[in-house]
Symmetry: C2
Subunit: 408 residues, 2 copies
């Protein structure tokens, strides 16, 4: 199966950008035409979950969502071609012409959970960048994913391309394991989902991966912070959408300002119903506010809450804040709030994370917010892609050497 | 130990390019000053091997080699700084200033075999790019590597830097395994060595790797090749240095030209003492030359010979050549020899390899030949680095977001 996909990927390498973009427009058209089929399949998936289950909303497709999915595909079709960019073009002293250009990766495996729109989002990004896609979705979205992939197959067939360019693997976990070991047929794996999925991929993959994932995010309020601004940023970073990876997990506060800062947080903590896990120094100041507060345990630090919960750590100085971040950070997004430019510079330079912030909410770490167009994920590793990444990272490089008989 | 190295790497992040370059000059100076210590240690390693063993020459250091090592370090100190390059700098609609810059990886683990000069080569590339280095050399070079690392430590101490920035791991293999699993402390692993080492790394690493390695290289002589030129290229690609990864392993010949090509290869095959493993069609033409020839077995294809041996495969057309390459290539270096531009274009586009050649010897796949300066290795994977890579790939990216209280 994977071998067929690899073979099929050669056909894609021959297509011009215009042909790849036209394929995407065909996909958008068929998504609209067959939207009833999608809704029927989606209903079968939804039948297993009560509407109160948070999964229900993540799985749900309706006419509006399908229309947005189709127009997102049209949007992607207008993005700049990442393939064929000339990175180097020079004549060597021996007369060889040496070029380095961007080329498709080949076959990309994507492992993801629940939301069925991911099936379309990632498949079209792969196809536009000249890559075949092997998709492994979650079993809870089996019917929806099957319907969506059948639309992708119809569009491929209509465009005269092999349908093997997009494969949906069965939901059984052993297919994930096989995919992760198929280094002869698959060039890149992108896991999208929970930390446990990403750990599983890291343990089992023989194929290079771009890990996307957990964000244990800190914000440090320095002695010289504007505390009014700090309070707004903290409440936004924690409360606006706690289920995502760029949400605040641990507030670090300079000991001299914790007493003044705490009351400024009260209304925001109450508005969102945020529970505080406070260290020994900060505990009395939150207790006094009459908001839910618990003494912090060691396990409350380095924790990605994904919930209306916030740990608080008090420090003596920037060094202690940096050490805390180095120990507990997942290297996703880290912020400092201060009016002291020199202190901010040191933080921005020394903190090792995909995104570092001065006087802003970590919630901005996002491909859309950064203006990248369709985001594939947020890489928390350092190889190839770091932080939010998009289409341009789905390519690799190729050296082309043109000679007239040169030998070494 | 790795934790200390990670901690020490922060000190390196604070240094200017001038300070990093000065550290390298100090290393070069001390290599010369302590060359006797190095030679004494090297003699202890050499004592275990007869001079006839190929390992003896790979291990050997002498006054000339140490001088070349020191001047190579001076050369590296003049390379362009890969750190702090501004990749993106823009103001977002909400007023946030968004920058993307290059930053050091952090801690790089390098696993290598035999040649002790690698210890210095890779350590200085890491240090110049702001990275700490964890080195795991082979046990056959234990004394030499220990002496060289003690010189690195002297140079670090003289520059006021922590000596933990360069660690030499004990030669016991369990340290390799631990290194490969230390994802909290090590950011990148580069294995340099045999295919079995690289396979071991691939199976066991939880940390992102840049694989460097095996080259199963093909050269296809098309129907419309200039056969005189082809013969020179083939003999050069096979004979000039068969122990390296860019050497030719399998000659693919169009069936219409095999009879005319074989006699043109005779003198070159004899000059280097090359044995041929010929498929059924080509066998009689090589037999007739009275050079050593054996009927090719399946296992002779997809084989990296690293020796004066050459397999030969006859094909009907370009398609069959492309299919053979796709099946057996390690995606390192592949060449087509033809005067037909259209055929060459198709080959260059469809063959999936780090370097593809038209009318030249694959032996040019090399950082020095490509003008990259000091080569770290030749990547045979597609993520982050492909083909020969150097200093500029030892960095990652960091997003810096400067705000004035922005929330989302």
């Amino acid at each position: 199966m994977l071998q067929q996909t690899q073979q099929a990927s050669i056909a894609l390498r021959r297509l011009s950008y215009e042909q790849r973009a036209a394929l995407l427009l065909e996909i958008a058209k068929l998504l609209r035409r067959y939207s009833n089929d999608i809704l029927e399949a989606n209903a079968k998936d939804l039948a297993s979950f009560p509407t109160s289950d948070p999964l229900y909303d993540r799985l749900l497709l309706d006419a509006g969502r399908i229309e947005r999915l189709a127009s997102a595909v049209e949007q992607v079709s207008t993005l700049e071609d990442p393939v064929g960019k000339v990175l180097i073009d020079k004549i060597l002293p021996n007369g060889l012409r040496l070029k380095k250009i961007t080329v498709p990766m080949g076959v990309i495996g994507i492992i993801y959970e629940s939301r069925p729109n991911v099936t379309i989002d990632v498949a079209v990004l792969c196809l536009l960048s000249g890559n075949a896609a092997v998709l492994k979705g979650g079993k809870e979205a089996f019917y929806s994913n099957t319907a969506l992939v059948s639309i992708l197959h119809k569009a491929l067939a209509k465009s005269g391309l092999p349908t093997e360019l997009v494969q949906l693997l069965p939901t059984d976990r052993r297919y994930t394991t096989e995919l992760l070991q198929a280094e002869k047929y698959v060039d890149l794996i992108i896991p999208r989902g929970s930390q446990s999925l990403i750990n599983y991929v890291r343990e089992n993959a023989k194929i290079p991966c771009i890990e996307t994932g957990a964000g244990v995010c800190h914000t440090y309020v320095a002695k010289n912070a504007n505390l009014e601004m700090a309070a707004k940023i903290i409440i936004n970073a924690k409360g606006s959408r706690p289920s995502v990876c760029n949400a605040l997990d641990c507030l670090i506060v300079h000991e001299d300002v914790v007493e003044s800062l705490a009351p400024l947080l009260k209304s925001g903590l109450e508005q969102y119903g945020i529970s505080v896990y406070a260290d020994e120094v900060s505990f009395p100041y939150f207790k006094r506010l009459q908001v839910p507060v618990t003494p912090a345990l060691e396990e409350n630090f380095g924790k990605e809450w994904l919930d209306y919960k916030l740990s608080v750590k008090t420090v003596k100085d920037l060094n202690e804040a940096l050490a805390h971040i180095q120990k507990y950070s997942s290297k996703h997004s880290e912020a400092i709030l201060t009016v002291d430019e020199e202190e901010a510079q040191r933080f921005l330079q020394e903190v090792d994370a995909a995104a570092v912030y001065h006087n802003a909410s970590t919630r901005f770490t996002d491909g859309g917010e950064f203006g990248l167009g369709a985001e594939i994920g947020i890489s928390t590793q350092k190889l190839h892609a770091r932080g939010p990444f998009a289409l341009e990272k789905l390519v690799t490089e190729k050296w082309i050497v043109l000679g007239e008989g040169q030998i070494r």
